[in-house]
Structure formats: C-alpha cells, structure tokens
C-alpha cells in the first residue's frame, strides 16, 4: 500500500503527532510555535481523539511559566503531557524543566526554535533558546526538515517513555515550522507499532496518587543533595542507546532511518562540517554537489544533542577527517566558543581524535539566510592553512572581521527543479493562493514540492513574498530562492515595481507575470526603466493580466489571488490547463466550501474569467521609460535613515555591515515620516466650507495623518496656492487676532481607514451623506497635497503653554509624537497612544509590553515615536512581554531616586546657587504645562550656573538635574500582558503606590500573535484557544484595581465618548499615584469593518458591555464617592452589539445552541456588572453632595 503523503508545514507536522500522543496539553501562544497549540486546540475542540481514542484536554495558560507549571503537575499525576513554545517562552519554562528532569519524568516539549530578545527582539529562527536550556537535564533532539519534525515528534515520545529523561524536540522557527513540504504521514497504525503500552502504564504507575502516596519534591541539605544529583547518571548514560534503538525501530516500521549523528559525504572526507537543524540540509546538499566535483568533504549532522554521546560521535566521523568546522546557529557573547563547537572540541579530545584541526563559526541568527554558497565558503576556509576561527558567515562584519566571504553566484540548484517567486500584497491573498498551489502540485502530481513565505514588518499594506519549488527530485533547500535562479517571477501589485527590484530573482529566459491596471499595449511604457532593462537583458517571457478588473467583475474587490493563481498555472505549464483549473477549483471548494456556496461560486467565476484577460506582452528591443525606481526615502532624510533604514525599507537589509548598526540597540526617533508608503488609493479631503473645527477627525486618526493647526495668518503668504485654510473659530485664538485654521492630510502616509470621515459630526445640508471630510482618489491629489503637507509642517505649533487641552479641539492642537505607524488600517489602539504622546509626550518615558504596540512602535526599519520642535519626545523601550509593569516601575524608581538626589544636592549647594533660586526649584508647582516649562527654564539656568563651578557636587547635580522636571511614566501594553502574563507584575506596580500611568489597550484577544483568547476575551466570543466560544466571563480588571482604593482607574472607549477619554487621561497623569486606564480597542481580530469601529464602540457602551467610569481616589479623600459611572444605563441587548462582529456571530453559524446559551450568560454578565457598579457608585462616603 502506498504511504499517505501530505503537504503541511513543520508546526502542523509536529502537532499531528503530539496531539495523538498526549492526554493533556498546556499551551500559551508565542511565535513561531503558536500554530502547534492552535492546531491542538482546534482538533480537540472538534473532538479529534488521540491514539487511544480519547480527546486530549487542551488548556491555555496565562504564560509559558504557567504552562510549564501545569505540564509539571499533569506529569506528576501521570498524564502523557506536552506543550509547544519558543524563545522567551522556553526561558520561562526553565525552572520547571529542571524539576521535571530532576524527577526523571517522561515528557516532551516541541519547540520552534527562535532568537532571544537581546539588543532587539526577533521572532525569527535560530538556536539561542534551545541552547539556553541545554543545562536543564533535558534531552535535546533536533529535526532539520518538515518530515523530521513529524518523525522526531514520535521518536521523542517513544524515547522519553523508556529513558525517563524528558525530551525537548526542536526544529528551526519559520524555516521549518512554516515551510510547507511534501511528507509521509505517520499513520495511527504505525504509531501503535512504535509505542510500547507497558511504558505508558509505567509512566502512570509513577504518578502521585493517594492510593499509593509518596513525597516528591523534598528540600535537601548539604549532606545529600550532591549525591542525589549524581544518582540520575545511569539514565543519561543509557539515553543515547535508547534513542538509537528507537530510531532503528522507527526505521523498521517506516523505512526512514535516522542516527544520533548522521554522516553524509565522501567516505574519505578530509574536511567536515558539523551542524544541527535545517542548516544541515543545506550543507548536505552542498556536500553532495562538491563530492560530485571530486572534493573530499562531508557533513556530520547532530540529531541528539543532549545527552551528547562522544562515543557515537567519534564512530560517525570518518577516519580520514583532518579538519572540522562546527556551525552554531547561536551566539554566546564572551564564551570561548559557541556551545556545539565547544562540545565537538571536547568530543575530539575525549574521543582520541585531537589531531583534527577544528574551527567554529556562527550562521543564520534570526533566520538569516544560510545558502550553499555560505556552506562552500566554510569548506573553502578549511582549505586554508590557518583558517579563521570563531567566524561568522552570511553577514559582513567590518567591526570584528569575523565574517567569511562567499561567492553570491555559487548555486547548486537542480535544473529539473522549477523555482517561482511571487510578490503580493498581504490583503490580496497571494500567500493563501500559493499555499493552495504548492499543495496541488505536491499532492496531485508526482513532483516534490516546497513552499516558504516571507512577510514584512508592517501590519498594513505589507508585501509578501512566496518562494515555491517543485520538481521530480527531492528538495533539500531550506533557503530562499536565490538571485538569478527563478524560472517564474510574478508581481501581483504593479506599484511594487516602482519600489523593489524583483527581477533580480529571474534567470535568463524566465517567465515574468505582472498584474497590471493598464492595457496590454501600454504596459511596456509604464514599466520603470530598470524593469524594462532586466526584461530585455534576461530575455524574459513577459505576461500581464488585469487581475483587478477580473476581481472586480467577480465581486472580489482587491483579492486577485485565485486569478493570479490561475494565470500561473496557465502559463507555467506545471499541469495541463484543464487539469490545473479543475484542481484549482477543487482547492477552492476545499478551502472555502465550508464558508458557503457563494464564496465558492465567486472564486470559480474569477478562475473562469482569468484566461481571457491574460496576455503575452511584446518585449521591445530598447528601454523606453524615462522614470526609474523611486528611492526608498527622500534625499532630505538624515544620513542614517538614507543609508541604513532605507536599505531595510528596500528589503536590502542583508547588505548592511555590522559597523552601520547601533551596537546597543539604540535607534533615533521620528523615522517613520521618511517611509512614504502610499498604501491607500483614497485619502480624506477637507471641505473648509463645512468644517466646524471640532478636532474629532484628528483625535480618531490611528496614524496621525490628519491634523489641524491654528496659526498666525501671516504664514499664509508662503503657502502653496492649493493650501486650504479658513478663519479660526477657536475662542482663545480668534480670527480678530489674526489666527487662521487648517485641517491637513498627509497624503502618502494615510492608510485609508476612513475613521476621520466617520467621526465628522457635520452633515452637508444639501447632501446629507457629505461631511467636512470626504474620501477622494489619492493619485490625482498626491503631488499637490504632498506640497501642502510639507508646508503645513513648517507652520510653527502653538506654544503648549497657551493651550488648555481639556477640550477635544484644543487637545488636538498639540503635536502628535506618535505618527505613521505600521499598525493596521483603522487600528483601535494607536489613537490612545497618540493622545498620550500629544498630552505628555515631551516629558514621557514609555515602558511598552511586547505585543502589537511594541511591534508597530518599535519594529525596524522605522519608528512612529517622534520628537517635537525642541527635540523632546517620548523615550521608549520594550523589555519583555511579562515584565512590563515592573519595567515601568523601575523607570519610576530611578526618576524618583534621581529627583531625590538632585533635591539633596540642591539643598547642599544652596549657598553657591542662591537660596531663593534653590527654593524655587524645590517647591516648583509642575501641575500644568506652564509649571513644567518654568521648571525646565530653571533647570537650564541651574545647569548654566553649575557648569562654571569646579565642584564634584556640581558635576553630580548636572547629571541628575533633568530629574527635577516632572516626568511621566507610561506603562503601555495589551490585554494579553495586563490580564494574563503580566498581571502579577501589574498588580504589584499598582500596589506600589508609585506615580505610574498604566494604559491597557484592551482588544480582548492576543492580537499580535493572531487572536488567541485572553482573560479579557468576553464570554461568547470565539477566539483561538476558545474555538467553541469562551465559556467564562471577561475578567474585570478595573474592579480588581479599584479594590486597592488608592489607584486611579478609568474605563474608556474613545469611539463612544472622546471627551471622557481625554479627561481621564489628564486626570490619570495628574494623579500622584498609580493610575490604570483600560481602553476599549477595536481590532481586526473582532471581525467587522474597522470603519464602523466608532459606532461599534458606542454600541459596546450602550449594551453595557463596556460601561465607562472613572475612580478617582482623590474624591474619597474629600469624603466623596470616588466611583463615577460615566455612561448611561444599558439600553440595548448585548447581542445587538455582539452580533455585528464575526467573533460572536461565527459561533451562531457553528453551534447555534451553544451561541444562544453563551449569549444569555453574557447578557447576565453585563447586567450584573452594571448593577454592581451602580451600587458601588451609590455608596456614601460621608461628604457626598446628595
């Protein structure tokens, strides 16, 4: 019988085994391992049983630390237990890992190995996380491909049951976890043959039970701890043999043979690379190529890294080897070498092969490409008489000169393998279609196939790149398609041509498919000069299709995915056309069929319409275009932006040398302004004839692209002719005093979310649908509005001291210091952050929890955090996900301490500085802008005075003098942080009583990792890890915080009541103690049109889901009730709000009865909450007015 073949990615491959071999699974989302937990949760929710016919219990925990604790407990009570994690998550599991190993417990963790946050966070793959647990006593089993991720998941479980040493099974994050490949599926029958039931029962027999009670987890003393620690040695000594026996048994059942150390290459190799993980695939493929050319090279791939068997390593190494290079995918600063290298050095010494020369090097950190050219460079290095030790490969290190040079033109790609690269927009569905395409090719033809997908750093308007390989030979190429190697290049968005060089991938004679708005006869002239040049020089076959038109006709909007997919199959000839179309339709039915017939019909229509619109374009002999590609940033940008960030923007960051990058992770602010992305085809246009100057459009804008200014009309003399303005209606800045007013849009930064239009309260009396802000086509406006925007920026901001920010319109005169972020169009979080930056930005330090806000706030290349005309602005940092409150508290402690020290020094230097002056500094009232500004001036004067004094105290005081000016600490993060992983710290920060401002951007779900449930997720909502609808109510974080009595608490929803939001932000910051603001944040994970989020926020409040309130402890001190409910009694049923959102509605479609039951309970939650708040607000504090 043929073995079942499937096309899946590494995460699914591992989860498919783990779920079948587990009884309890404790999970927590972290990239790139989240999908394993999601699969497990989904399968259990659907009732998919494990190998023994019972459905594994999957439970989401509050953190990886919690998951490890739950795993430990489940293991102790005898369940076959697993978890999935990566990176910082794995680090949080370390304490439990020691315990689990120390107790000789059979367990498996599956890890998609990922970088560790150091100078910067990275979600991408390397071995830093797994290397950080090599000392815990866990076996480390490395798989190098999707097939191995599947197979080793089983081998790990089999081995741990016998060895009683817990196993960490890992594979490379993204490269393996996200690569789609064709693999043999391990059937239930095969797994049953492999697993020994007796061992499972023995595992259960060791469990804690009152039937046979024991004590485990003692505290041990100097007399015995050491001996007891040594007692486990026989288990570790036996493990390598157990794993090899398991691998042999596995081979008998499946035909796939693995070894603890797998050697490949010349039998008499002299030069050998030792490595682990997917890089080994690349080295092996390179070795095969070089051996064919006659070189005596080989590769030794490490599968079982811990326990490390010196004996088996030495046996696996050919006797002929003279030189070894060890490649580590990790970095251990300050170590004499990276861990695998040091282990091999030791193995050679202990194994009696110390005559072999050995060097070690690093490669592939954070998913840096590792190609055959790089592997060859390492072999070349070994040819040298004095090869470079502690080298790097894949980068250019011009600082420590560690890097090896490599030949970028060296390639070992097989001629029979077809390679295709597709460039698409995130929202056009390109990746989804390519996933389908590669599955069709892999599953419906004899071809081997591989798909890998690259995404950029923004959450809106992103470019995606799909790399597909297929052909008659097995594909051993865990790296991107290289330059000049693609047989097929497709550009699904015409404007990408203006920005990126994508034809560099095309080989001579390749096919180039372009999605174009233009007619076939005018396309050529529309191409940038470089594109024309490459098409001619590489003799490309050029095809074009107006996919937008076809999508429009089929009612699919911007989604050109199925259309481009059909065009790809039609041109590439992978399959006969009719067969390809039939397969595409089958894939459409499979993917979309469950969502209803209409979707299938629509996609079928797109497929059927495609071929008629596909054209071969005549390639001219000469270039005709005058215009070339655009520079990534303006030539006016600062040098660092042009030469470093600009490279990253152009997707050429791999070329940046070490010296160009900050060595401590410190980057300048205000850089997003240079990244003109032009992602919206429509932008808002101001109609000054209708405008009432309310500022509502400005406050809601998530990207700070619409702003208003009041200014002296004198400046208008230099204004462009099209610059719009009107007399000021601000009473503080009247027209009579020469003030004018303008609302201006940044045309190239707008994401087109239309929230400004929705927020506009004005309706044209002659045409009710028209507002004072209306969307219009961007291209015709781009040039003029860019000039107007540039002019607008030159108009000086009003002096902050003159602005009373207590009204929306006034507050919006303050310059936003958070602008043009990469957040989703219509993001519900960023308007709150922007408001903080406007109100307090020039004196703010931000501690930002990892999550969406740290990504759109701090993901390179550029940052939206900006500076004002004085160069002041929010200083920003991200520590971790779990510790953000503590991180912010630490900042506060420093500021308080330095302030105290400065005050002490001031008092000590009173005579030198003048009593009156010192007194003014000591007693300054800094409650408002005027007070803060006056203190800044005093501090400036102080520094001047001190600078002339040759006194040690003076030097000290200068260095801490800035702490005399009021600083505002803002601790910002999402609900995943505040309600779950960081709650302990948040609680402690609140309890500290310190002056902290905590802003919780509550999207009611883990947004950044893709919509997993948090404790903020409301009852009845569907989320990942709560597929059947969350069955418990949303945690009331505000109520918990109020219980302290001295914490300022506010619950706000800008879309429902912007004035209450503004007021509470000001009050929270003014309160000299801990403040907590819980902000209702619409998110695309809610599943509705984000343009409707203001309306939906109102419904959230009106339905009682999100009552608005503030709790001000200062009132209690005055004998008044501190709780003020600031929204009306609920007037709508909760369902009327909820069923506007897919997250609730989809449950009615999946399970109507459960949806109704949960909706009833959710209504009761809202009713109870309202009643409770009402009663709390009615308590008399003795001095109440009524």
């Amino acid at each position: 019988m043929d073995k079942p073949i499937i096309m899946i990615d590494g995460n699914e491959a591992a989860a498919l085994v783990a779920h079948r071999l587990s009884e309890v699974i404790a999970i927590y989302p972290i990239t790139p391992s989240s999908a394993m937990g999601e699969f497990a949760d989904e399968w259990s929710a659907k009732g998919k049983p494990n190998l023994w016919g019972t459905v594994p219990l999957v439970v989401e925990m509050q953190s990886e630390g919690g998951a490890a604790g739950a795993v430990h407990g489940a293991l102790q009570t005898g369940a076959l237990t697993t978890t999935f994690t990566a990176s910082q998550g794995l680090l949080l599991m370390i304490p439990n890992m020691y315990k689990i190993a120390g107790e000789l417990t059979s367990a498996v963790f599956h890890v998609a190995a990922r970088s560790i946050a150091a100078q910067g966070l990275s979600i991408f793959g390397d071995h830093q996380d797994v290397m950080a647990v090599r000392q815990t006593g866990w076996a480390l089993l490395a798989s190098a491909s999707v097939q191995e991720a599947h197979d080793f998941a089983a081998i790990a479980q089999m081995s741990t049951l016998q060895a009683r040493v817990p196993f960490l099974h890992f594979f490379d994050g993204f490269r393996t976890s996200h690569e789609i490949a064709k693999i043999f599926y391990l059937t239930d029958d095969e797994l049953r043959l492999l697993l020994d039931g007796e061992l499972i029962r023995a595992h259960r027999a060791r469990a804690l039970t009152p039937e046979r009670p024991v004590l485990r987890g003692t505290a041990q003393n100097p007399d015995v701890y050491f001996q007891a620690r040594e007692s486990v040695n026989p288990f570790y000594a036996a493990t390598p043999d157990i794993v090899q026996e398991t691998m042999d048994k596995f081979a008998q059942v499946t035909g796939r043979q693995y070894h603890l150390f797998d050697y490949a290459g010349h039998p008499e190799a002299e030069r050998v690379i030792v490595t682990m993980g997917s890089g080994g695939e690349t080295v092996e493929a390179t070795v095969n190529h070089l051996v064919e050319k006659g070189e005596k090279v080989g590769v030794l791939r490490v599968r079982l890294y811990r326990p490390f068997s010196v004996e088996r390593f030495i046996k696996a190494l050919p006797a002929s080897v003279k030189k070894i290079a060890v490649l580590d995918r990790t970095k251990e600063p300050g170590a004499p070498g990276e861990p695998l290298y040091l282990d091999i050095v030791n193995a050679l010494v202990e194994g009696g092969r110390s005559e072999i020369a050995i060097i070690g090097g690093r490669y592939g950190l954070s998913s840096k490409e590792f190609t055959p050219a790089m592997a060859k460079a390492v072999f070349n290095e070994l040819l040298k008489s004095e090869p470079k030790n502690h080298f790097t490969v894949g980068i250019y290190d011009d600082v420590s000169h560690t890097s090896l040079e490599y030949d970028k033109n060296f390639s070992i790609e097989d001629e029979q393998t077809i390679r295709c690269v597709f460039f698409g927009l995130g929202s056009d569905g390109t990746v989804g279609a390519n996933k389908n395409s590669i599955k069709i090719i892999g599953e419906e033809t004899e071809n081997y196939a591989q798909g890998y997908f690259v995404y950029d750093s923004k959450k809106s308007g992103q470019m995606t790149t799909s790399h597909l390989r297929f052909g008659p030979k097995p594909i051993q190429a865990p790296y991107l398609i290289e330059i000049n190697q693609a047989n097929f290049v497709a550009c699904h968005q015409f404007n990408f041509l203006e920005r990126f060089d994508m034809l560099k991938y095309a080989k001579e004679g390749a096919i180039f498919l372009l999605n174009s708005l233009y007619n076939p006869d005018e396309i050529w002239d529309r191409l940038p000069r470089e594109t024309q040049r490459d098409i001619i020089a590489k003799k490309l076959q050029f095809y074009a299709i107006n996919g937008y038109e076809v999508a429009e006709q089929a009612g699919m909007g911007q989604r050109v995915n199925t259309i481009m997919q059909t065009a790809f199959f039609a041109i590439s000839g992978v399959l006969p056309r009719e067969m390809a179309i039939a397969q595409i339709k089958r894939a459409i039915e499979k993917t979309y069929g469950k969502r209803g017939e209409a979707v299938v019909k629509q996609n079928f229509e797109a497929v059927d319409r495609t071929l008629a619109h596909l054209h071969k374009i005549e390639v001219l002999a000469e270039t005709t275009a005058e215009e070339g590609r655009r520079a990534p940033v303006s030539h006016e940008a600062p040098e660092f932006v042009r030469t470093v960030l600009g490279k990253m923007i152009q997707f050429e960051g791999d070329e940046i040398p070490v010296s160009a990058l900050p060595n401590d992770g410190t980057y300048p602010l205000a850089t997003s302004q240079w990244e003109k992305r032009n992602i919206s085809m429509e932008i808002p246009v101001w109609d000054e004839a209708l405008c009432i100057q309310c500022g509502k459009c400005v406050i809601v804008c998530p990207h700070a692209v619409i702003r208003h200014k009041v200014y002296s009309e004198v400046v208008l003399t230099d204004a462009p002719a099209t610059f719009k303005h009107m007399p000021s209606k601000f009473k503080e800045f009247p027209t009579a005093a020469g003030y004018a007013y303008t609302v201006q849009v940044a045309p190239e930064d707008c994401t087109g979310c239309t929230l400004c239009v929705e927020a506009c309260p004005v309706k044209d009396k002659t045409q009710a649908g028209r507002r004072a802000i209306n969307m219009e086509s961007q291209p015709p406006l781009r040039e003029t509005e860019t000039k107007n925007w540039d002019f607008f920026l030159t108009i000086p901001d009003l002096d902050r001291k003159l602005i009373n920010p207590s009204t929306i319109k006034n507050s919006q005169l303050l310059r936003p210091l958070f602008e043009f972020s990469g957040a989703c169009a219509g993001c519900g979080e960023t308007p709150y952050i922007k408001l903080v930056s406007q109100l307090f930005g020039d004196r703010t330090i931000v501690a930002n929890a990892t999550g969406c806000s740290s990504i759109y706030g701090g993901n390179l290349p550029t940052t939206p955090w900006a500076v004002d005309a004085n160069g002041r602005g929010p200083a920003w940092s991200n520590s971790l996900f779990e510790d953000n409150a503590e991180f912010g508290l630490g900042m506060r402690l420093t500021l308080d301490k330095q302030n105290e020290y400065a005050l002490e020094l001031l008092r000590a230097m009173e005579n030198e500085l003048g009593k009156e002056f010192v007194e003014a500094l000591l007693t300054a009232n800094q409650d408002g802008e005027r007070g803060v500004e006056a203190q800044r001036e005093r501090v400036s004067e102080l520094k001047n005075k001190l600078s002339t004094q040759d006194d040690a105290r003076a030097k000290e005081l200068i260095s801490v003098a800035d702490a005399l000016v009021k600083k505002s600490v803002w601790i910002i993060g999402g609900d995943g942080w505040a309600y779950d992983i960081g709650y302990g710290g948040l609680d402690h920060a609140l309890a500290s009583g310190r002056n902290l401002n905590i802003l919780v951007l509550d999207t009611e779900v883990y947004s950044n990792t893709g919509g997993q449930a948090s404790k903020a997720t409301p009852r009845a909502a569907v989320a990942k890890f709560a597929m059947g609808g969350k069955h418990m109510p949303k945690k009331d974080l505000g109520l918990l915080a109020m219980s302290y009595g001295y914490v300022y608490v506010a619950r706000v929803a800008m879309g429902a009541n912007d004035q209450q939001t503004l007021r509470t932000f000001i009050e929270a910051e003014a309160y000299d103690g801990p403040s907590l603001i819980i902000a209702y944040s619409p998110c695309i994970a809610h599943g509705y049109d984000m343009a409707r989020s203001l309306e939906q926020s109102k419904l959230a409040v009106q339905s009682g889901h999100w009552p608005l309130f503030s709790y001000d402890p200062r009132l209690a001190l005055r004998g008044e009730n501190p709780l003020s409910i600031e929204s009306k009694e609920p007037s709508l049923p909760f369902s009327q709000y909820a069923y506007n959102e897919t997250r609730y509605k989809m449950l009615t479609q999946m399970n109507e009865e459960r949806a109704e039951e949960l909706m009833r309970e959710a209504q009761a939650d809202a009713d109870k909450r309202w009643t409770l708040y009402q009663q709390m607000a009615a308590i008399r504090y003795g001095n109440d007015n009524n």
């Binding site: 989904e42 659907k46 995404y455 209803g596 209409a598 009710a768 950044n1008 897919t1142 999946m1150």
Partner: protein, 333 residues
C-alpha cells in the same frame, strides 16, 4: 358543531389560522407551542437568497482579512470548520419541524434571481416540506427597468420553481403592480397554486437628528389588512387559486373578514409576537362563538361570501376612499 376546517394548497387544515413566515418557526419548541395552541399550519421563516450570499461572503471576508500578511499572525480568527451558512441548516430545520409537528409545514424561499433557486426548492421538498411559499421581494431602482421586465422575471421564476417540485407552490406577492389581476393571472398560469397577499415591506425611515436612514421593524396593525382584503375580494372567483391573507390579522374579526373576502387561510405573525400563542385559542374561540351565534356551519361556507362577485355593490371595491366620502349616494336604477 361549527366546522372551522379549511383546505389550503390541497392541505386539510383544522382551522384557517396559519403562522406566516417569521422567526416564530426558528425554534422547534416555539413551533410546537404554537401547534398546541391551535395554529393550523406553519410557514417557515424564509431562506433568503441575499442572506445566504451575504453571510457567506462576509464570513469569508473576515476570516481572510489580515491573514497570511504578517509573520506573527497568519490569521486572526480560528477557522472553525463547518459553518451553518449553506441551506443545509435550513433544510435540517425543515426536517426537525416536520418531525416535531403534526400540522403542515410550508417552506419559504425568498429571492429573485434565477439559477440555484430551483435547486433550493427541490431540496426543501426533499427535506419534507408539505408546500413551498416563494417570496419574490424586489425593489427596482433602475429607471430603465420596466414593469414587464420585472413581471416576466417573476413569472419565469415561478414556472421554473414549479417545474422542479411536486408539492404545492404558493407565491407571496407585493401590492405594487400596475395591474395586479393580470399579474396574478400570469403567476397562476405559471403554476402558482396559491397567492399570498401581501408581502409587508420594511420601509426605511429617516433619523432627523443624525440625518441617517434607519431601519426598524414595526409590527402590523389590523388596519393594514384592508389592502389584501380588497384585492382578495376582487380576485376571488376569477382565478383558480387559493388565497392566503397576510398583514394585519390580529383578531377573530380579521379572520372572518379574510375568509369572507375569499381567503382560504389568514396568516399572522405580529399578533403572535405581541401577545404570544395564547391569542390563538382566544381568536379561535371567539371565531367559533361568532359563527355559532349567527348559525354559520363552517368556515368554507363563508369563504368568498363578500368577494367582489358576491356583494351587492361590487363597485365598492373599485372606488377610491375619497369618492366614497364625497359621493356617498346611490344612483337609483
């Protein structure tokens, strides 16, 4: 004994009170209560063409949005597998209702475009419905579309649906036709076994504060039944078809009027929403009492008794109201 029974679309009903297409049929328990309270047949809520398409595309849109775009979040909502969007859910419900009820269950299809509908009709029949009601809701907004374009489209649709099923077919129509009698005749010729008068349109309203269009669901009032009453009375006896009167049936008197105009059944929904199923028993007992008091033996006896062809002044159905007021005198013969 007073005989309340009637025959509608060939179905023998114990009385003329039928639950019209509304959410009342969404729950089997609720339907069962209505049956126990005395309702004689149940028209199911409609399987909406627009709704199925919209829900399907909407779900697809939001499951796709943001997906495969950002490395950390390759999707934002779990894709839960089977969704009850396709007509299967409706069809399963037809079967459940049939299983739970002894009274006839009439399926309801709402839509205007051709293609696909005949298939739905057939599947509703297969699911066990005793009859089918086709509701052709269409608001023409294109100034180039003529009344005959629309009538032809509807007549063709009726013919197409009729040819695909064996159970009786009722067609629910709107009063807005230049010549309702001719249009009704064409529908009957195309295969309609019953005509349901009339579809209630939910008319949009204006919010003067917000200057926005608002949609609200207003329950019907008894006065609304005069329009279908008039038209049934006019058409009765001219077409070989069963009439059902719907819109504004709230009291036993309304039922009596409907019967006398020529309807075989009177359909109600608003009254049931407003007063619950208890109203059914009350209507039926008053109906019976009224008939007894006036020695009516059966409902059938009175059906059509006040239709245009049966009354003394048939022209009363043709006058506009103001004429009646201004010229309320008889020309002597």
């Amino acid at each position: 004994m007073t005989d309340l029974s009637t025959v509608y679309l060939g179905l023998n009903l114990r009385n003329p009170l039928v639950a019209s297409a509304s959410p009342l049929s969404r729950k089997v328990d609720r339907a069962k209560q209505l049956e126990e309270a005395g309702i004689a047949a149940m028209v199911m809520y409609s399987l909406f063409e627009e709704q199925i398409i919209h829900e399907s595309l909407e779900l697809d849109h939001y499951l796709n949005r943001g997906s495969d775009s950002f490395a950390e979040a390759l999707s934002y909502l779990p894709d839960g597998g089977l969704y009850g969007i396709s007509p299967e859910k409706y069809l399963r419900h037809v079967t459940s209702l049939k299983k739970a009820l002894t009274i006839p269950v009439i399926g309801s299809l709402n839509g205007v475009s051709q293609g696909g509908w005949t298939d739905y009709a057939r599947r509703i029949e297969e699911a066990g419905a005793d009859a089918l009601e086709l509701n052709m809701y269409y608001i023409p907004t294109d100034i180039h579309t003529t009344s005959s374009d629309i009538e032809n489209m509807k007549v063709d649709l009726v013919a197409e649906v009729k040819s695909s099923i064996k159970i009786p077919l009722a067609v629910k129509i709107s009063p807005f036709a230049s010549s309702l009698p001719n249009f009704a005749k064409r529908l009957v010729e195309a295969g309609a076994d019953g005509l349901v008068l009339f579809n209630r349109f939910y008319q949009p309203d204006f919010d003067l504060e917000e200057l926005e269009i608002v949609h609200s669901l207003d329950l019907s009032a008894s006065s609304e039944m005069r329009l279908p009453l008039r038209w049934i009375a006019i058409l009765y006896g001219k077409l070989n078809v069963d009439f059902a009167l719907t819109s504004g049936v709230h009291t036993y008197a309304d039922v009596l009027k409907a019967m006398m105009a020529g309807a075989k059944v009177a359909m109600m929904a608003s009254g049931l929403f407003q007063f619950g199923e208890e109203i059914i028993g009350s209507i039926l007992s008053y109906l019976e009492a009224w008939m007894k008091a006036r020695d009516y033996e059966s409902i059938k006896q009175m059906q059509g008794s006040m239709s245009q062809s049966s009354v003394r002044e048939p022209e009363a159905f043709e006058r506009a109201n103001y004429m009646k007021v201004l010229n309320s005198f008889h020309t002597l013969p």
